[in-house]
Structures are given as structure tokens and as C-alpha cells.
Symmetry: C3
Subunit: 663 residues, 3 copies
């Protein structure tokens, strides 16, 4: 497999939208901005295949030669994320049936039914033709399959496949009835054809997270994940017939709800993702998502495949990146393990629903804009950072996050709807990062032994292999911190009652309470300080462990809120509360000492990457004021050449970034 | 008819969810908690009838014998609230078409079409088979038909039946056109098949309460009520072939919007209901609902069929019952006329959408939990209260509440959507209770002569028989208090202009105004104090009555807000305002003196029940502090044996309950 | 064409709802209130045509004679806004398919498919029969086609017509692909049948304003406008066969989103509209809508066809008109160019969804109500104002508002959803009115040379002819003020990059930012004062123009917020900010001096109408306190006969109106 040895800088380009003179001017401008990689052909299907048996590659031939001649590498997309109109209308079964049970007609994109045999055949055909034609093209850097896989389909064909999949994965209808407890609410199936698609016309009331039968919806999500993975892998297989050299990827979307990326993306050579943060205070969200994407890639470097150089369009408010933000966020991606900085897109589209989605070049193609200037500066800086390529992020802590738990915590009614598992994971990730710098995400199936601490904010659905892994991790000396609703259900969705878990945690849940969002309940933390919890309150019963924090208000005042349990050579902290962010930080501080150079102050982010070429400390000041940091070892800033002695405080200007190579 | 002579204590149990050892342990634990009645088989259809012509009663046979052997009585359910998958899928017409016109597939529960001939035949068959098999079983206490009837269906068959029903109830299409004023908006029907199902695809815009033709939707609600009643009664009939001895009921849901319980439940031997309050300050809501359920049962004792011993699951926030709440709410049910205390459920389900719905026994079956201990204490106390069984609640006041008015007030556009008829009824019920203790609900068709005062907060749709009854009641000396939008429409939905009403009220509505929710308008009450009204403001025109309160602000300042009219030997108060709760209390105080031992202080509730075995004063302190009450007559607390002399203040501890037998 | 020479006073009457005696009493009461015109037959289709080949005009014959005998004129409606049930059910294709793709059944009104050949034929038939029968009736004043045209249909027939319309208007599929940039997202159509109806099942996600392909939805709106116009014009043609004398109109709805009235209403003899304001401070909204309706009628007098004499019903809160409001709003309509004051309706309906919609006569037909008295006073006053009939509103300023811009600004994603183009237009209209009195609305296609200033708050989609007109206007000495997102797209929906526009504005947009609703950014205005802008912030780049205002906060502080450009003999102000209302007023004040008698104080409104019979200054005090106004010329109040000398301050009492004829 041939991975690029320098940082890819560039992104999506859609030259089919302009004339030749414009393209020429664009390429000149992009080259001058240090752009070296273009993503092409993402939505080109209708142009490449104007009719079932007609193909038109000429324009793409010319284009590839042209960009190659100008020195750009190409990430070549299979155009299968948007069907050509003729296919969608001649073969309506290629289009999805939605959650409301309605077959959609042609329109938008990301609209194909993932089980449609016609779609799969057509998608694989065009992927194969592209691979056959271009696998040897000198511009080729990598393959980009489809685009932002996601959503779900509820058509007859999907349901039929779902039934077959269930019989196969459960070992027959008898087992399925047992696994799903179908004696509840008269659901015992006597034939697989009785199993419904779990949507608004069958099991759901009040939307996708109010279900009369949550386990069937969870299984449908697992099934959909596998179907989309099969689409992806079907195309990869076509490419691999011709090309064993170039990496293949597709663009993921961070903590995207509808696909379990740990299952979906296992066949990728490199994980790539699109970073469009939603939070106003975006950097902790992005840090978490970068870490999650690394986790999906099993710790390998990943690719930033898309980010907005200016502004997005699909939200109700779409702020523009203020000066310096594009640079800092790009360097954050590098810090968090990316080997590329790719933007969406090189030039703003002239029309369509995303016509205000800002590009490196605006609608006039100007090079005297702030965005262009900032991109060009970034291009120069990235060229100084190629030594980071292939290095790995160092992490002494991990946050456990898995889709089954996320899904099931939302699908099963009860207690409070006003907390979110991923939000909890993000908050713990940020709290840990302040103490330890780089923080991994894990699904519990990676090697945990490397971590000083693993935080599982809510391992709602605990699979046996993960329980085993956590027991081993703690027994061998690890610290496990776990929170409310963890170990709530087993892999079949039943309430988990398991001695191995009780033994690990040293406690059981005695009672749970839930209260309206504004209602806080006080508790003591192990360090004796007080915090205020919200939404969900567990009164714990020690069964071997020691109470390390008490509830201090409400009717359960005096009850155990935190249990500390010695298990093997390690320690488990079971938390019955959703803490404040300050509370999380204090709890971590009481459990582990900070890493060298930590805890960080203000909005400072610190991550280290390491490889055979060295170890790099990247410091990002996301604050509006200068922040100090004291390097524990000597280093030199790759961007400025300035040396920084160990132990001597460094000042990082507001918004600035330092990339120290340890010397 | 053979009614239990002791208080039933117990509730739903689903032994099909566990193995024999667990069931044995459960029964031991339940017996020790004073549980004496189990509701079985509520969702057992798929297990009892695995195929159209296959029945499997063995497990239920064994179970009934087993629980009988342990001394439990059984409330045996017909399992018709949830179809078996084979029935729903082989006969899609048994499933509902929703308000959006979509036929649903198998899923959830409470999903059957009430007019489906196949459903009715199948439901009656299984009900008949159960009655035939178990009517003589010694454990049998009562029959429980289906579960929580409700909702609506809009399928072709329902619409066809609706048309026939309309022709029959209106006496032909000509009368229907006249009754419905179909000359409005070109709605004159020339054939019954032109009459639509009133749903989102025909008459409705903006949801179920925005209709282009409100009367058709009202009639559809009446029709649906009758169809569900026919389902219920069809099963009852099957049972009565074999069993004339055991009472038959089904579980109602308090002020449930979609069925007119006065029509629906007339065939029940005893009214039973499920008490899941929504309000944070829940006791007044529950007091109202208990009273409403008594009213549906025409004053007879009713059964509390379900309540949550721990927490519900279907809301966005589901608080757990704090210590003592389960006991107090259970005793409130007794106070308000229940002869049973039944919980949902005996043991928490191992899976499903309600797996966090707390049971008397938790998922581990523990007996060392707070909930178990509280249930066991309750069981002991209930065994001391059997003398209350069969007694009737004493009430000197009634609140008029009827479904036609509720429906029509929501269906007809105009003025303000920000008030609710049932909410008004609840508020008046609470205000009256503070002055008079037990307060009834009436639909205006019960004997009113027993009441000192009848409050009709909004008799929006006034049927002639109710107008007549109110005229008689007042003429004979009663006090009628009625509020905004009362007597607004007649039974066919037309604006009511009726001299008999004008004469009764002594006034007409001169003008009505509505304002945004935050906007208050001041008025004077008959006692000279001032109150602030919201939402809806009627300027009244005296036509025989006297102005007893004036508007004091807004452009109608000086207008009449309250009219007092002498009619026969009685008095009518017509209120043009939605008062504050303090205003309601002051108005009542100015109309009638308090009953002995009244007005109550704080969050104290007092209800008396009476029968040949005595009269019982139940005092419930819903407050966080002790409250005093002075018994007008001597009594003894059945729970503690403590005597309380007449006229000597008693202190009821915070959260506590006293059950005095008058001596 | 024969237009009434006196002010029409009256409105909708539905005598089919009552018996003869009631009608007689009503007519007597109405006559006494100065009512002279009745709108009849708006929803009479089912009565007039009870079966496909059966017609029943007798009742209408009698009615017309009867009202004529009592001296009333008649605005006779074609009843085509609500199909008879038999037509809707026998020909389901006459009913609409909604945005969700669902065919509706009979119900409500305004439910016909505008492309249905059966509907069009039937509608034209009944219109023709009415015209044939009644064109010579002496009571006839005018024809009223259908009612409140609007909405949209997405049925197969509409889509087929849409495809034909597209091929015709674009000149074939090749041009269409080019115009629509279908290379984006693989949308290149190879056959017209691939073009979808742009609805929730195809291009839309998240409702009608979240589209994957905004231009197709814009075009569908243009297409729908033309189809409704064709329905309207088809009926007009039938009437013109028999009647060339009486004016034909239909009732528009002000700034109604779904029809481009400039296209839709071009065939009307007089523009008429229904005035149901939504704002609590309603008069500026009404002033804008009156002006817009005048614009649709190309400056001719228009008719107020409906207004609520008491209260509406379709909102969640429906306040009643306080004393004097009906009079003031009616006279405002006259001031703003209406020649009629017509109410909905003469008598409140006895039933139906609008039964609480207040009439001049209430449900009892009383004449001793406030509403009746106010109507009668109004009738007397209107009879003194007949000299205004036919006069035209004087305006020195215009606000540019067009539907293409409105639609496209909502359809295209990006920046902020929290501003609305029409809301901006209204605000500018009000700000201008304070300085100049009467303010016109224009679509840019009327004669602009008459205006001192034209404000185009957001000419989002700039057609070439409008660009040309604005260039001519400014070159000839006009002042053009234009705001954010103006000149954003061309007529095909592409981002507009056009030297002629750059030259006109003297600037380009350098960057745009958007922020959450609460976030304000300061800027300086040309007069040196400071204002705070919200939502959307443009940083402008002068290309010939001069910076006339700077941003003062946020990261773009120091950037240009306002550009002033000299173009020909005129001036263009390009504003990059959505100003506060105070800021708008200050900006206008700095650009132009006030007209004589201006600026106005408080909530005072002033409009002048002029014709050969004189010039009339109407002053409306919408405030709660008296307001002063100094007439620049001598006049006499037509209502009181009081003379007012030039230059001498007049006091207009709170809520009062003065109609001065200049003398």
C-alpha cells in the first residue's frame, strides 16, 4: 500500500462547473496556495454514465492529465453517492423508503437503497470501470468511495434482507424469540415474515427514539450498518481487482449517529472524515471526533477529508471562520493524528443548495481574499511539517464510546431523555485531555493496557467481550471510571444482571431517580468537595466496594453516589451522577496525577505525536489571550525554528499554534 | 355479582417472562408483602393462540393453579389489546389506519381496528375460550378486558361504518345535512359515500384540533367511542355466557381525551383505572381523576387497577416515588373511592420498552429494597382497612365535565387556544375540595339534588337534557356556577341561542376578547376583592341577573364580568373570566360556608366514605410540614388505634395519612 | 368598465344559512348601518349544482332580487373555491396532492388541483352559467372569482404539466440542464420525465425551505402561480363572454407567500384583498400590505374585500377589535388607496370552523352591540368620503419587493435563517413613511422616475430587466438604497457576478458572516451615529464607491459596512447590515430631507390621495395619546367640517382620524 509521504493539502474540486479558462486560472491560484491534492468526481455519475449502456470518460481523462501536468495529486472518487436521474427513475427500487414508509423519488443525494441489487450492481460497475481506467494514472493518490454514507432505508427488500440476517445471526426464529423476549406485548413470531421494519408505521411512536420494541430497532441499525458496509466493500473489491497499491477510503462524519463506524469502516485502508463542528466552542468537540476517528482506524493516522474554509450552509446560522481559525483547526487535525488537510472545497459552487458554502476561491476566483491568503499561509506551514506524516498520537487515557450503547440509551424509554451518551463522552474526553494531553477513544476492543485510566461514561449495553476486557484491564492495574446507566443491558438488550460486573464494580444500583433539567442534586466527591448533578441520579449499594462520595440533598441524601472498588491490582470508580465539568476535572485530579506539562490552563490543547522521525508536541491556544506552557523537555518549533528549553515557560499567543520537535 | 369483600392489593404479573424458580421466589416475596391479587395474561395472546387454529392454555392452567395454591386471587385478562403477529400480518385489515391515512403494520400494542370484523371475531373467540375454561377457577376474582382502550382508526371499514352510523343516528342524509349546516363551505352531501373520514387528508389542517368542519370530527369521536365500547361489550358478552358471577372491567385512564368514558364504560360492573399522574404537584390531579372515575361508575366504588410503585418510563423525565409517596397515593385512592390498590407491576420486565418501569420486585427480585419494604408496610395497613370496601364517597359539590364539551372546545377555532376545559375542571375541583372535602364529578346526568353547589367551568356543548337538569337543580334551590364558553353550542355543534339558557343565567354574552398568555385583566369578585384573569374575557350583558363583578382594566373596564341570577329557589353565578386559583377559592367562600372541619389548610386533603359499617374520614397530608385538622366528630384512627375527640385539633405529620372511623 | 362611484361598504353575506325572516331582519339592520354592497355566493357550488347535470339557481335568483329591492349592490362570486362533495369524490383528480405526496380526499376548501382539466372545465362552466344568468342583473356591481387562491399541488398531472412548462420556458432539455447547473450532485436529466415534483419525497429535507435543489422549487412556485392564474383567467374569460361592463376581481391576501401576485393578478380589473393582520402592532404591517396591493394593481385604487369587524378565529389567540379600531383600520384602507370597506362578514355563521368569527351582526342579529354601532357610524362617515373614490396615493418613495427574491432567499441554504425579506421590506416601508407619508411598493418594473428614493432591502434574485431599470433610475438622478444579500443570484438561480451591478453599487461583497440571533455587531452610519446589526454581516469592498459606514466590533471591525457610490446623476447606498429601526430612520434622514409635514411623531400615519376632485390628506393617530400635526397647506376635515389653516398645528385625538381636503 502506497501512502503519501507528505501532508496532503487541498480538497474537493468540481471543474465540471466551469469553463477551461476558469479551470486554468483556478489551478494556478491553487498551486500558488500550496495545494497539492484534489478530490475529483464525487458527484459525477450522471456525467460519466448518461445512459445505462453509455459511458463518457473523456472529460475526466482530460482533467486528470491536466491536473497531473500542473503537479497535483488526485483523490479519485467513485460517484456512487448520487444516482443519475435515469437510474433513479427507471429503477425506483434503487431509491429509499423512509422512516415513514414512503418510497422517495429522484432528488437530493445519498438516496440509494443499500440493499438494492440494481444499485449495488451499477455502483460496482462504475467503480470497476474507474479503477480499470485510472488505477495506473500518475496523478492518483487514493480512492474515495461514494460520499458520507448514512441514513437508512425501510423498503420491502431491506426488510426481507433484515429477516434473513436475523435468522442467520440469531440461529433461527426460536432463538430470536428468546433473545428478543417476544413474550412481552404478544410479539412471539411464528414466521420470519411477521417481523416488521421498525419504523413509524410499526413499532415507533413519537419519532425514531420512541419505540414499542427497542431491540428490533437496535438490530436494524446494526443491520443497516452492515448493508452500507457491504456497499462500500463491494466497490472496494472492484477497485482491488485492478489496484492493490493506492489506499481506499470514504469520508466518515465523526460521532455520526446512524452508522456504527467501528463495524462500518473496518475495511478501509485509512479512515477519513469530514469535520463540520456544531458547537460554538468547537475545539473540544473536534478533539473528541478526531480521537474517535483515530479509534475507528485502530490508532493509525487518519485523513481530514473535508472542512469548511469559510462557512457551511446547512445550519440555521452558519458563521464564517474568523481570522486564524482555519489555520488553527487545520493544525489541530494534524495534532490529533491527521496526515492531511483537505477543504471542502477549492472553489465555491455557482449554484445549488450549497452555493454559499465558501471555497478557498470565491465565486469570482479572487486570490486577494482573506481566505485565500490564510490558505496559502497554511500551505507554506504544512510543507514544514511533513515529518509528522505517519506518526501516532500518544495517549495515556481513553474514553469508551460505542454505538450499541449510544443507540440503546436513546431507544429504551425511562428515567430522563435530557442527557446524551456522546455528550458525556466528549466532556470526559476534554477533562482528561487537560490532565493528560492526547486522549484516545476506544470501543473497549483495542489494547487497553497502555492506558493509565479508562473512562466509560455510559457503557449502557455491555457486551461480554468488553466486560472481559475491562476486568482484565483493571485486574492488571488499570483505573476504570464508569458512570450512570453503565452495564445496564446485555448485547440482546435485556437488563444486565451479572455477577462478573457486580464483582468488578463492587456495587449494585439500589435506586435511580430522574428530575427535570433545572433540578440539581448535590453530592460529595472523593476529594471532599461538592458538586451538583443533574437529570439522573443513582443511589448505589456497595457490595464489596467503598462509598467514595455521598448524595447530599433530595430524598436520597446520605446514599452512596460514588463507589471505589479494588479489583485485582486496579481500581474501579463507579459514579452514580452526571457531574459538572469542574466536578469531572476534580475527580480525575483526585485519581491520577497530571502528565508532565499538565494540567493545561485556559483553552490550551496539547497533543503529542511520535514516530521514528521524532516526537512532536503540538500546542494550540484556542483562547483569546496568550497562555503559558512549560515544556518538560527541550524542543524546537518547526514553524518558527525557535528553540525552547525544558522547564522554561513558553508563551503561546492568543489563537496561535506551536509545533515542537523534541530535541 | 360477587365482589371481593377485602381490599385487593397486588397488580400485574407476567410470569411468562421468567423461569419456575424465579416465579416461586417471586410469589413468596409477594405473599410476604401482603399481596393478595394478581392480574394475569394481559398480553398473552400470541402465547395462547400461536396459530389461527392452535390454542395453548397449558401454561396458564398451571399458573392459575399455582398462584391459587399460594393463596392469591386472580384478575384474569383477555389478551386482546395486542394482536399476535400472525393475525396482524395475515389480516392487515385488523390493524389501524392512522390520522395521516396510513395503514400500520404489526408493532407496539393497542393497534387493532375497532370495526374490523376479523378482529372482533378473533377477540371474542379468545375471550369466550378463556371464560369457558376458567370461569369456575377458584382463584378467579374478576375479568379484565383488553387494556387501556383508546386511539382511533381511519380505515375504509371504519369510514363505511361511520357513514351508516351517521345515517342511523341522524335519520338520513337530509337531516344530516341540516344538522351539520353543510351549506357552509359547499359541504352538502348528496350521497353518504361522499362523507370523509375527518383526518389530515380531508378536513384537518395543523393537526387533530384544526379542522375545517369541527362537527364531523366530534361525531367521529362519538362514533369511535361506540366502536370501542362494542369491542369491549362483545367480549363481555362472551364471558357472560359462562360467568354471571365475577365482575368484568377494563382499565380506564382518568381524563383520557379520546374516549367519552361516560358512554364507553356504561357496561362495566366496576370502573377500574390506571393512575399515572403527569403534574409535579400530582395529588389534586389524582383527586380529580379519582372523582371522574367514580362519576363514570355512577358513584359506586371503583378499582385502582394500575399505578407505578417506582417510576414510569414513557415521559421525557420519569421521577421515582420518594419515600412515603406510594403509601400516601395508595391511601388517597382508597379515600377517593377505590376498593383496590393494584400496582404495575409485581416484578420489573427483563426487556422491552418498559424495562425500566419499576416493579415491586426489581430485576434481581430483591426484598431488601425500599420499594419492597414500603409495599409490605402498605399491605399490612390495607389489611386493617377492609371495612372501607363498598363504602361511598360523600360529596356536597360536583364539577361538571363532559367529553363533548372538551372535544368541541378544542375542535372549534376561535378566541384562545391557551386554556383547557379539563384543566379548569381540575382547578375548580381542588378549590371546592378545600371547602367541602369530597367533591364529585358529574356529566350533568346524575342526581344533582344532593349537591349544595354544582360548578360547570365550561359546559361548552350543552345538550338539552343537561340544560333541563340544571334548570331543575337550580329551581329546586341549588347553586350553579358556570364559566366562560359555557352553553356555547348545542348538541349538533351550532351556536346555542336559547331562551331557556338566557333565563337560567340571567345574562347573555355581549362580547368576548382574547389576549396573549402573559396578558392579565383585572376584575372584582362578589366579595369586593380583585382577581386577575387570563386568556379569555367575556363581557356579559345582564338580562334579568345582577352584575356581581366588574372588569377593571382593558378596553372593557366597567363591563360585567360576573352575573348573579336568582332562578326559582336557587342561584346561578355566570363567570366571564378564567380566575386564578385564589380567586376561585374566594368566590366559593363567598357563595357557601365551609363544611365542618373546613376550609383545609396547606396541602391537606380530606374525604369521607360511608357505608353500613360506618363513616370514615381520611386525612392526607401532602405537604412537607405537619398540618392540623380538627375533627368535628369523635373518631379512632384505624391504622394506629389512636382516638381523637371531637373539636380537638389533630396534627397530621408531614406526608402522613389518618383514617378515622367516626365513633 | 363600470366602477362604482361611491365607496362600497358591506361584505360577505351567507343568507343560505338562515330563514327568510332572519334575512329580512338582517337586511333592515344592514341598511340602517349604511351597508350598500353584499358579497354573495362565495361557497355556493354544492347548492347551485347538486349533481353533475343538475343546476338550482332559483334560490340565488330570489336572493338577488330581494337584496336589489332593498337597495344593496352585489359583488357576485363564482363559487369555485370549494368543490361540491360529489365532484371531489367522483373525480379524485380534482383534489390536490400535498407536499408530502399524499392525495387528499374531500374536505375543507381551497382544495382543488389547479391543473386538473376536470376542475377547470367544471369551474368555467359554473362561472359561465352565472355570468349568462346574472350579467344584466341590476344589483350586480362586480364579479368575485373563487376565493383566496393559494397553496400548491404535487399530483402527477401537475408534474407532467410542469415538465412541459419547463421545456417550453427554457427551450428544451439541454438549456434546462445548463440553466439549472445540473452537473451539480449528478442531476443531469436525459429525459424530461426524470424531473421530479420538488417536495418532501424528492428534493426536500427539513420542510419546504430545505431543498437539495432550490432552483427547481423556485420554478415550481413560478409554475404554480401561472396555473392558478390560468384557473382565474379561465373563469374571467367565461364571464367576459357575457359581461364586458362589470369589473372582475378576486381576493388576494397581502404579502402571501405562495403566489407571485405580480404575475398572478395581472388580469384583474381591480385588485382586491383580505386584510387580516398578524402583528400586535398592526398598522405598519397593514400599511405595507395596502401598498403592496396597490403595486400589484399598478398604482390604481384597490378594494378592501375582507376584514374582521370583531375577531378572527384561525390563530391561537384572536383578540377582538377594541373600540374605534374597526373605524381607524377601515379609514386606513381608504387612506392607502382602497375604494371599498368590506367586512367578513355581515352576520356570524351559526356553525362550522369559523362560527366564532365575529360579524357585523352577531348570532342573535342584535343591533344594540358595540360592533353594530361602530359599523353604522363608519357607514355614515364613509358616505361623506365618496370624493376619494378613484383617487391615487401620492408617494415619493418606493420599497422594492418581489416574490422571486423572497422565495429564493428562503430556499437557498446559507448564512442565517433568522431574517426575512418581507419583514425587512415592511420595516423600510415604515421608516420611509415617517419621512415621506405615502410609500409605494414596486417590483422594479413600474415607473421609478417618480420617486426620490427607492429602497431594495434585499433584491436577492436580480432579473436583468430590473438591474437595467435601477441603473436607469439612478443614472437619471435617483437614490437607490439596497441591503444585504441583494443582487445575490440571477434569474436562473446562479450566483450573480455581473460588472453592471458592480458598477452600479461601486462595491463587491468581500466576506459575509452570520451569528446567532442574540449577537449584535456595531457599525457607524453616514451621520456618524452608531447602530447595532444582527444576523447577517457583509464586509464590503469598495470598487469605485466610498465607505460611508464601518463595522466597529467583531473580527471584521474596521471593514466597510456601508458604501456610497455616485452613479450617473444619482447615488447608490449599499448597506451590508440589517439595521435597527432607529438606524433605518437615521439613515433615511441623512439621505433625504423630510416631506412637508414630516417627519411624523409617535404612531401617526399620513397618506395623501389625489384625483381631479382634489387632494386629500388622511391623518391616522394609531397612538394612545393625542398627536400633533402641522398641515403644510390649508384644508377642511371632511368628517367634521372643521377648517385647518396651513402651518397651524392640529391635534389628532388618540385613535382618531382626520380626512383633510386641501383647500
Amino acid at each position: 500500500m502506497q501512502f503519501p509521504e507528505h501532508i496532503l493539502h487541498g480538497g474537493d474540486y468540481n471543474p465540471e462547473q466551469w469553463d477551461d479558462a476558469t479551470i486554468d486560472a483556478d489551478l494556478t491560484a491553487l498551486e500558488a496556495a500550496g495545494i497539492n491534492a484534489l478530490t475529483l468526481n464525487v458527484f459525477g455519475w450522471a456525467d460519466l454514465q448518461p445512459a445505462p449502456d453509455t459511458f463518457a470518460f473523456d472529460r475526466l481523462d482530460v482533467l486528470l492529465d491536466r491536473v497531473h501536468a500542473r503537479g497535483f495529486g488526485v483523490i479519485l472518487a467513485t460517484p456512487t453517492a448520487a444516482l443519475p436521474p435515469w437510474l433513479a427513475t427507471e429503477e425506483p427500487s434503487t431509491m429509499r423508503v423512509d422512516f415513514e414508509g414512503r418510497r422517495h423519488g429522484f432528488g437530493q443525494r445519498h438516496h440509494f437503497c443499500p440493499t438494492s441489487p440494481v444499485f449495488r450492481e451499477q455502483a460496482q460497475q462504475i467503480a470497476g470501470l474507474l479503477a480499470h481506467r485510472y488505477h495506473g494514472h500518475p496523478a492518483l493518490l487514493a480512492w474515495h468511495i461514494g460520499n458520507e454514507y448514512g441514513g437508512a432505508c425501510y423498503c420491502e427488500n431491506c426488510v426481507a434482507e433484515f429477516r434473513r440476517w436475523l435468522l442467520r445471526t440469531h440461529g433461527g426464529l426460536g432463538n430470536l424469540n428468546h433473545d428478543w423476549c417476544t413474550q412481552i406485548w404478544s410479539h412471539r413470531f411464528t414466521h420470519a415474515d411477521q417481523i416488521p421494519a421498525p419504523n413509524a408505521l410499526t413499532e415507533h411512536w413519537g419519532g425514531p427514539y420512541r419505540s414499542g420494541f427497542p431491540i428490533i430497532t437496535l438490530e436494524y441499525k446494526r443491520f443497516m450498518t452492515e448493508q452500507f458496509a457491504a456497499c462500500l466493500e463491494g466497490e472496494i473489491e472492484q477497485i482491488r481487482h485492478f489496484d492493490a497499491v493506492h489506499p481506499v477510503t470514504t469520508n466518515l462524519m465523526g460521532a455520526y449517529e446512524h452508522l456504527d463506524y467501528f463495524r462500518f469502516a473496518s475495511g478501509l485502508d485509512v479512515v477519513a472524515w469530514d469535520n463540520y463542528p456544531r458547537a460554538i466552542r468547537a475545539w473540544p468537540e473536534m478533539a473528541f471526533n478526531h480521537s474517535l476517528m483515530r479509534a475507528v482506524g485502530r490508532g493509525r493516522p487518519m485523513w481530514l477529508m473535508e472542512q469548511a474554509p469559510v462557512a457551511t450552509t446547512c445550519r440555521d446560522v452558519n458563521p464564517t471562520r474568523a481570522p486564524g481559525v482555519l489555520r488553527r483547526w487545520s493544525l489541530q487535525a494534524l495534532a490529533q493524528g491527521a496526515d492531511t488537510v483537505l477543504h471542502f472545497q477549492m472553489r465555491s459552487a455557482p449554484a445549488g443548495s450549497e452555493m454559499w458554502f465558501g471555497g478557498v476561491l470565491d465565486h469570482r476566483g479572487r486570490t486577494d481574499t482573506r481566505t485565500y491568503r490564510e490558505t496559502a499561509r497554511l500551505g507554506r506551514e504544512l510543507s514544514q511539517l511533513d515529518d509528522l506524516v505517519g506518526s501516532r498520537v500518544e495517549a495515556q487515557a481513553a474514553v469508551l464510546m460505542d454505538w450499541d450503547s449510544w443507540w440503546y440509551s436513546r431507544l429504551v424509554d425511562g428515567f430522563s431523555d435530557h442527557w446524551d451518551l456522546v455528550d458525556q463522552a466528549r466532556q470526559w474526553h476534554e477533562a482528561l485531555a487537560r490532565h493528560l494531553g492526547g486522549v484516545d477513544v476506544t470501543d473497549g476492543r483495542s489494547d487497553l493496557s497502555r492506558y493509565r485510566i479508562v473512562v466509560a461514561p455510559s457503557l449502557y449495553m455491555a457486551h461480554n467481550d468488553v466486560i472481559d476486557a475491562l476486568r482484565r484491564y483493571v485486574a492488571d492495574g488499570g483505573i476504570l471510571l464508569t458512570g450512570p446507566m453503565s452495564f445496564a443491558a446485555d448485547a440482546t438488550g435485556r437488563v444486565l444482571v451479572d455477577d462478573r460486573v457486580d464483582e468488578l464494580l463492587g456495587c449494585q444500583v439500589e435506586e435511580r431517580d430522574a428530575q427535570e433539567p433545572g433540578f440539581g442534586v448535590e453530592l460529595t466527591l472523593p476529594d471532599g468537595t461538592t458538586d451538583t448533578a443533574h437529570h439522573l441520579f443513582e443511589i448505589l449499594r456497595p457490595t464489596g466496594g467503598q462509598t467514595a462520595g455521598h448524595w447530599r440533598s433530595s430524598w436520597f441524601a446520605g446514599g452512596s453516589a460514588i463507589i471505589r472498588n479494588a479489583f485485582g491490582r486496579g481500581t474501579v470508580i463507579r459514579l452514580g451522577a452526571l457531574l459538572s465539568q469542574a466536578g469531572r476535572r476534580r475527580l480525575i485530579a483526585s485519581l491520577i496525577g497530571p502528565a508532565p506539562g499538565h494540567p493545561l490552563v485556559g483553552e490550551l490543547e496539547h497533543v503529542s505525536r511520535t514516530c521514528s522521525r521524532g516526537t512532536f508536541d503540538i500546542l494550540l491556544n484556542h483562547d483569546q489571550t496568550p497562555l503559558a506552557w512549560t515544556p518538560p523537555v527541550q524542543g524546537v518549533d518547526l514553524l518558527t525554528g525557535r528553540e525552547s528549553p525544558a522547564g522554561e515557560p513558553l508563551t503561546i499567543p492568543a489563537g496561535d499554534v506551536i509545533v515542537l520537535r523534541r530535541t
